[in-house]
C-alpha cells in the first residue's frame, strides 16, 4: 500500500522516479482539459491563455496563485508524510477546519496589544495542535484496533463540519455571523503586498515561507529524525519492523498525528495571513486538493512545491475561466491527474518487483 520512498540520498535503483509519473499526469491533465473544454464548445488554447493571463499574467494573479497554493502545500506535505507510513489521511479537510476554528477562537480571545513574536508562534502552534487533535481519533483507532483510516478520517471530516458549525452557532462566532472575532493586529502574518506593492490586494502572505520550510524539512526529517525514519521503515515493511520490536502501532499513530498537525498549520495562511479571523468554509477544498498535490509531488520537496503551485494555478485559473467553462472542471482534472500519475508510477514499481523471483513467498500452514 505504500508508495516507493526515497530517503535523503535518493536511494532508488537507478530510474528517475517521480519525473516520468509527473509528466504522465500533466499529459493526462492536458487531454482531460481539452475534452472538458471542447464539450463546452470552447477552444482549449484560448481558455488556456485566459487561464494563464488570470494567474501568472499579472503580479496580482501570481500572488493569488501563491495564496491558493500555500494551504495546498501544507496539506500536500501532511498527506505525503502519512503516505510514507502507508496511511491515507483523507481527513485533512476536517483537520484544517477544526484548526481554523481553534486559531480563530484563541486568537480572538488574545489581548489587543499582544506582540507578534508571542502571538504568531502561539497561534501557529494552536493550529498544529488542533489539527493533530482532530487526527487523534483515527490515529488511535488505527493503531489500537486496526480500523482503516480511510473511513475514519472521512467520518471525521463530516463530524468536523458539524462540529465547527455547532461551535460557531453556540457562541464562538460573532452574533448573527459565522465568523469568529478579529485577531489582534499583532497576530497577523504580514501579507506579501506589504513589501511588493505590485501585489496589492492579493491574499498571499509570508505563510508561504513556513509552507516551503515544511516541505524541505520533511525529507531531512525522514533521514535524520529517528521517529520519522522508523515511520518510513514501518511504511515499507510493517512485519519486519514488528519482528525487530519496533513500536509499529505507536509509529503509525504518530504519523497520523504529525500529518494532522501539518494540515492544521495551513491556518497560518488562511487565518493568520489573510482573513484575520476564521469563518465557516475558510480553507475548504485544500484537504482534498492536498491529496492530488501529494500524489503528484510525493517524495520530493521540490515536487511538492511545484505540484502545489500547479494546483494553485488550476484553482485560481478556474475562477478566471469560470464564465466560459465551469470551474468544477478543475476538480475533474484533479482526479484525472491522480490516476495518471498513479498508473505511471505503478508501472515503474511493477518492473522493479518483477526482478525478484517468488522464492519464499507464502507459507504452507499446517494443523
Amino acid at each position: 500500500m505504500t508508495l516507493a520512498a526515497t530517503d535523503a540520498k535518493g536511494v532508488r535503483p537507478g530510474i528517475p522516479p517521480g519525473l516520468l509519473a509527473s509528466l504522465a499526469g500533466l499529459a493526462a491533465a492536458w487531454i482531460a482539459f481539452d475534452l472538458l473544454v471542447w464539450s463546452y464548445g470552447e477552444s482549449p488554447r484560448a481558455l488556456l491563455s485566459m487561464l494563464f493571463a488570470g494567474t501568472w499574467g499579472t503580479p496580482y494573479g501570481a500572488a493569488q496563485v501563491l495564496y491558493k497554493a500555500t494551504p495546498l502545500l501544507f496539506t500536500g506535505v501532511a498527506i505525503d508524510l502519512a503516505l510514507r507510513a502507508g496511511l491515507f489521511n483523507i481527513g485533512a479537510e476536517g483537520q484544517l477546519a477544526v484548526a481554523g476554528l481553534a486559531v480563530g477562537a484563541v486568537g480572538a480571545s488574545l489581548p489587543t496589544g499582544i506582540p507578534g513574536v508571542v502571538a504568531i508562534p502561539l497561534l501557529i502552534a494552536t493550529g498544529g495542535l488542533a489539527g493533530a487533535a482532530w487526527a487523534a481519533p483515527p490515529a488511535l483507532l488505527r493503531a489500537r484496533l486496526g480500523v482503516h483510516e480511510v473511513i475514519s478520517t472521512i467520518m471525521m471530516n463530516r463530524i468536523g463540519e458539524a462540529f465547527v458549525a455547532f461551535a460557531l452557532a453556540s457562541g464562538l462566532a460573532m452574533k448573527g455571523t459565522v465568523r469568529t472575532g478579529d485577531l489582534p493586529p499583532g497576530a497577523h502574518v504580514p501579507r506579501l503586498d506589504s513589501v511588493a506593492s505590485g501585489l496589492r490586494g492579493s491574499a498571499a502572505s509570508f505563510a508561504v515561507i513556513l509552507a516551503v520550510a515544511c516541505a524541505f524539512a520533511l525529507p531531512w526529517g525522514f533521514a535524520r529524525v529517528r521517529v520519522l525514519r522508523e515511520i518510513a521503515l514501518v511504511g515499507m515493511n510493517r512485519v519486519a519492523c514488528a519482528a525487530e520490536h519496533m513500536p509499529v502501532a505507536r509509529r503509525l499513530a504518530q504519523a497520523m498525528l504529525f500529518s494532522g498537525a501539518i494540515a492544521g498549520l495551513s491556518t497560518t495562511a488562511t487565518v493568520l495571513g489573510y482573513k484575520g479571523h476564521f469563518e465557516s468554509g475558510l480553507g475548504a477544498g485544500a484537504g482534498f486538493g492536498g491529496i492530488a498535490v501529494a500524489m503528484l509531488g510525493r517524495g520530493s520537496a521540490l515536487g511538492l512545491v511545484a505540484s502545489a503551485l500547479l494546483f494553485g494555478t488550476l484553482e485560481q485559473g478556474g475562477l478566471a475561466i469560470n464564465a466560459h467553462v465551469p470551474m468544477e472542471a478543475m476538480q475533474v482534472l484533479e482526479g484525472v491527474i491522480i490516476v495518471a500519475v498513479a498508473l505511471a508510477d505503478a508501472r515503474v514499481r511493477e518492473s522493479l518487483a518483477r526482478a525478484v523471483p517468488r522464492s519464499l513467498g507464502r507459507k504452507a500452514r499446517g494443523a
Binding site: M155, A162, P326, Q331, R347
Partner: protein, 307 residues
C-alpha cells in the same frame, strides 16, 4: 415519545432511506469479496443519481433513468477495476480519484445541462402517489412494495445466493481470498474481478437512482457520505451481504432519527447531524475490538493482492 403512528412512519422512513445505503453496500460486497477495495461507492451513487435524473428528464421514463444509472455506474466500476487489475494502481488511490471526478463531474454536467451548480430540474421518479395519506400502515405498506425496496431486497438475496451457490460466485470468493492460488487453477482472476466490480457498481448506481428519485431531483453532493457509511456497513458485517443489509437499515434509522430530531433540537441541531458519522466510527471501533484474531468476519485475505 412517539405515538404508534409516528413509529410506523419512522420505520417506513428508515426502510426508504436504507435503499441507497443497501445498494451501495451490495456494491461494496461484490467488489471487495473479489479482492478489489472500493471506496468509490460514494462517487458511483452520485453519478448514478445524476444519470437517472438526466435520463428521465430527457425521455420521461423512470426505467430508462434506472438503466442509465446502472450503466454509468458500472462503467465507473469497470474503470476502477481495470486501473487496479491491469494498472496495478492501489485501489484506494483509484477510488479517491474516481470520487473526485464524480464530484466535480456531476457539478460540471449540472452547469452544462441545466445552468445550475447545485440542482437539477424536478423529475417524477417512480412514485406517482404522494407519500402522505392513507394512514400509517398504508404508508409502511407502500414503502415496502415500492419498486426500489423490492428490487433491493431481491438483489440482496440474489447476491447472497450467487456468492455461495454458483460457479461464478465461487470464483469471486476464491479470487478475493487467494488470487495467486486461483490463477494456478486456470481461472482468469482479472476477468472475474472486472465482472464482479462492474456488477456491484451497477447495483450501487441503482441506489443512486433511488436516492435521486426519492428527492425528485438531483442535488450536488446529495450522497452525503452514504457511500462511505455503506462501506463501513460492509466491514462491520464481515463482508456478508445479508448482514450488511441489517447494518444499512440500522444506519438509515439513525439518519431518519437525526432528521426527525432536528426540528426539536434547536441549538443542538448541528451536533445531531453528526449522529450517523459518529455512530459509524463507534460501530467500527466496537467491531474491531471484538474481532481481535482473524476468523469470523475477517476481510477477504486477498484484498488488494494480485494474482
Amino acid at each position: 415519545m412517539m405515538r404508534g403512528g409516528e413509529g410506523l412512519t419512522f420505520v417506513a422512513q428508515a426502510v426508504r432511506m436504507a435503499v441507497p445505503y443497501a445498494c451501495a453496500a451490495l456494491g461494496g460486497v461484490w467488489s471487495e469479496r473479489s479482492g478489489v477495495v472500493n471506496i468509490a461507492l460514494e462517487g458511483m451513487l452520485l453519478a448514478g443519481g445524476l444519470a437517472a435524473v438526466v435520463a428521465q428528464h430527457a425521455t420521461g421514463s423512470a426505467w430508462v433513468g434506472v438503466l442509465s444509472a446502472c450503466t454509468v455506474a458500472a462503467a465507473m466500476g469497470l474503470a476502477h477495476a481495470a486501473t487496479f487489475v491491469f494498472g496495478r494502481v492501489d485501489a484506494i488511490v483509484s477510488g479517491i480519484a474516481l470520487n473526485l471526478v464524480a464530484a466535480g463531474g456531476t457539478r460540471f454536467v449540472l452547469r452544462a445541462l441545466y445552468d445550475s451548480s447545485s440542482n437539477s430540474p424536478a423529475v417524477e421518479g417512480f412514485r406517482a402517489a404522494s407519500f402522505e395519506g392513507g394512514g400509517d400502515w398504508a404508508i409502511l405498506a407502500r414503502t415496502l412494495i415500492d419498486p426500489a425496496t423490492l428490487f433491493t431486497i431481491a438483489l440482496a438475496l440474489a447476491t447472497a445466493w450467487a456468492l455461495r451457490k454458483t460457479p461464478f460466485g465461487l470464483r469471486v470468493r476464491a479470487s478475493g481470498e487467494d488470487p495467486e492460488a486461483v490463477r494456478a487453477t486456470g481461472v482468469d482472476v482479472r476477468r472475474v474481478r472486472l465482472l464482479a466490480v462492474a456488477i456491484g457498481a451497477g447495483i450501487c448506481g441503482l441506489g443512486g437512482a433511488a436516492l435521486a428519485f426519492d428527492q425528485h431531483q438531483f442535488q450536488a453532493g446529495m450522497s452525503g457520505g452514504r457511500g462511505f457509511i455503506a462501506l463501513a456497513a460492509v466491514i462491520v458485517s464481515g463482508w456478508r451481504p445479508l448482514r450488511a443489509m441489517t447494518a444499512c437499515v440500522a444506519f438509515a434509522a439513525l439518519d431518519a432519527l437525526q432528521i426527525a430530531v432536528q426540528d426539536r433540537a434547536g441549538q443542538l441541531r448541528d451536533l445531531v447531524q453528526m449522529l450517523p458519522y459518529v455512530a459509524t466510527l463507534v460501530m467500527m471501533a466496537w467491531i474491531a475490538s471484538r474481532r481481535g484474531a482473524s476468523g469470523e468476519g475477517a476481510p477477504p485475505a486477498g484484498l488488494g493482492k494480485h494474482a
